[in-house]
């Protein structure tokens, strides 16, 4: 009995301490916010570097080159020329997709240029650049299309894979409600879903079109079927309140488009050849 008392006393003590800790933390909160003046652009200019966050698992937008081991792709080149126009150097930091927005908010990056759509970042407390690309989401099936899927309606009672936290996941959720999948499986990376597609564990994958095309070049065991499901508005993503930096970014983006560099980059990286 004595033992039990001692044990429950320990438990009570633990819980009390946990509460004290939480209260203590909130107590020291509410310090003054670090001014409302926007020094986002100034910080970048003084540093001479624009720190760009991206998830380098999404060729041809961003991926690690097999031979040079450098991060390369459309986003890398685009952010590079825009930074150059801003008079600074772009520095790229690779991270997990699911951790990018948290890292941005925390101050690890100035901007995310990583084929991120407005919808993907919508719930986060962020600001967007102008739309710099429209990316179609499509249905990917194994070569030969064994389940005869020719559009979204055929996905009824199928097992569908998407990348967790992607626009494709949102489309998948909506389609699941609409047509009723057998299962919607959510992977860390679209590549994992493609692997499962190849192994026959799932019937279809929803992903961005350019990515699908790039994958089918590496591994020709996939086919793209049906009409594009939805167009995603791809934007650069900034911390809330970095209005000056967003405006400068948009200004230089417009210049890059006007001068024709943008079209060159699209031709270099994103031209779809099935």
């Amino acid at each position: 009995m004595k033992q039990r008392n001692a044990r429950s006393f320990g438990l009570v003590l633990c819980i009390t301490m946990a509460f004290a800790l939480i209260l203590g933390l909130s107590g020291c909160g509410n310090e003054a916010e670090t001014g409302s003046s926007d020094d986002s652009l100034k910080t970048v200019q003084e540093r001479g570097e624009l720190i760009v966050g991206l998830a380098p698992f999404y060729a041809p937008f961003e991926s690690t080159n097999e031979t040079t081991k450098e991060i390369e792709g459309f986003d890398v080149d685009l952010a590079g020329v825009i930074a150059e126009k801003m008079g600074v150097k772009a520095v790229f930091k690779g991270a997990e997709w699911q951790g990018l927005l948290g890292g941005l908010e925390k101050g690890d990056y100035d901007v995310l240029v990583t084929a991120m759509s407005k919808k993907e970042a919508a719930e986060a407390n962020v600001e967007f650049s102008d739309v710099y690309y429209l990316l179609d989401d499509i249905i990917i099936v194994p070569k030969g299309n064994p389940k005869n899927i020719s559009g979204k309606d055929d996905l009824a009672d199928m097992v569908v894979g998407v990348q967790l936290g992607s626009g494709s996941e949102q489309i998948g959720d909506a389609l699941n409600t609409e047509v009723g999948f057998k299962d919607l499986r959510k992977y860390k990376l679209t590549q994992d879903a493609m692997n499962d597609l190849k192994a026959g564990r799932i019937d279809a994958v929803l992903a961005g079109e350019t990515f699908a095309v790039e994958q089918s070049k590496v591994d020709p065991s996939f086919d793209v079927v049906g009409e594009p499901l939805e167009s995603a508005e791809i934007v650069a993503v900034f911390r809330k309140g970095s209005t000056a930096l967003v405006e400068e970014f948009n200004r230089q983006l417009a210049v890059v488009i006007q001068e024709g560099t943008y079209d060159e980059l699209v031709a270099k990286w994103l031209t779809v050849t099935l």
Partner: protein, 228 residues
């Protein structure tokens, strides 16, 4: 350091409560099945390894291999790696196989250790009563050994429960996977991971309380009287 508790909104958790609870069920299911696998493997391997034979040496290789490599690597190998060779199993199966084999390696060491704690006299007595080796182990030694092994086995169970968070990467909708889904949808990292941590804690703590009651009971059942 400015910590602002005003940004915390528990409403997010309420919105996703049904999904979280369903995922908790999946976590428990995987844990229990994997632990049963691990226990079976562990008892067999641990017993066989308690004697010096070539089988013991071979099984030693299994134990070292699974203790010496990360569980996440094992899971990816079993799920994605073996699929490439044509050995395709559903995610749930792969998770149970991976966790079971990994846990089995640890449990076998617990069992081996517990067996070695049983005095020579028990074997001799069993032998003089006409028990063979298998009979001695099954009816005389193992029941005593398992009693000694109960606390470390509970420990293994708790570890396994927490390790199931890794199978979220096989796209199984258990607690960590659903937490990531909610996080990527709402960006409420504090609320979500605090609640998921609490859910894991409640499960492991609940189990350890139950197991202490079991220990007390076993301690009364004659013999060693070691557990308090």
């Amino acid at each position: 350091m400015a910590i602002d508790m005003d940004t915390v909104q528990w409403r997010v958790i309420a919105d996703w409560a049904p999904e979280l609870l369903r995922a908790a069920g999946v976590t428990l299911q995987i844990t229990v099945l994997s632990f049963l696998c691990a226990l079976t493997i562990g008892i067999v391997v641990g017993t066989l390894r308690s004697r010096r034979t070539w089988v013991a040496r071979l099984l030693g290789l299994y134990v070292e291999l699974f203790r010496g490599t990360p569980l996440l690597v094992q899971l990816f190998f079993i799920y994605y790696g073996l699929a490439q060779l044509g050995l395709v199993m559903p995610a749930f199966t792969a998770a149970v196989v991976g966790l079971g084999l990994n846990g089995g390696a640890y449990v076998s060491e617990i069992v081996r250790g517990a067996l070695s704690a049983i005095g020579r006299g028990q074997y001799d007595a069993a032998h003089s009563l006409g028990f063979g080796w298998v009979g001695t182990i099954t009816w005389i030694v193992m029941p005593q050994a398992l009693r000694i092994a109960t606390p470390p086995l509970v420990n293994s169970f708790a570890s396994m429960l927490k390790d199931t968070s890794l199978v979220s990467l096989l796209a199984i909708t258990e607690m960590m996977n659903i937490a990531n889904q909610i996080y990527s949808r709402t960006f409420r990292a504090f609320e979500i991971f605090a609640v998921v941590a609490l859910m894991y804690f409640v499960m492991t703590y609940g189990f350890s309380v139950a197991s202490r009651a079991l220990e007390r009971r076993l301690a009364g059942a004659g013999g060693l009287g070691k557990a308090r």
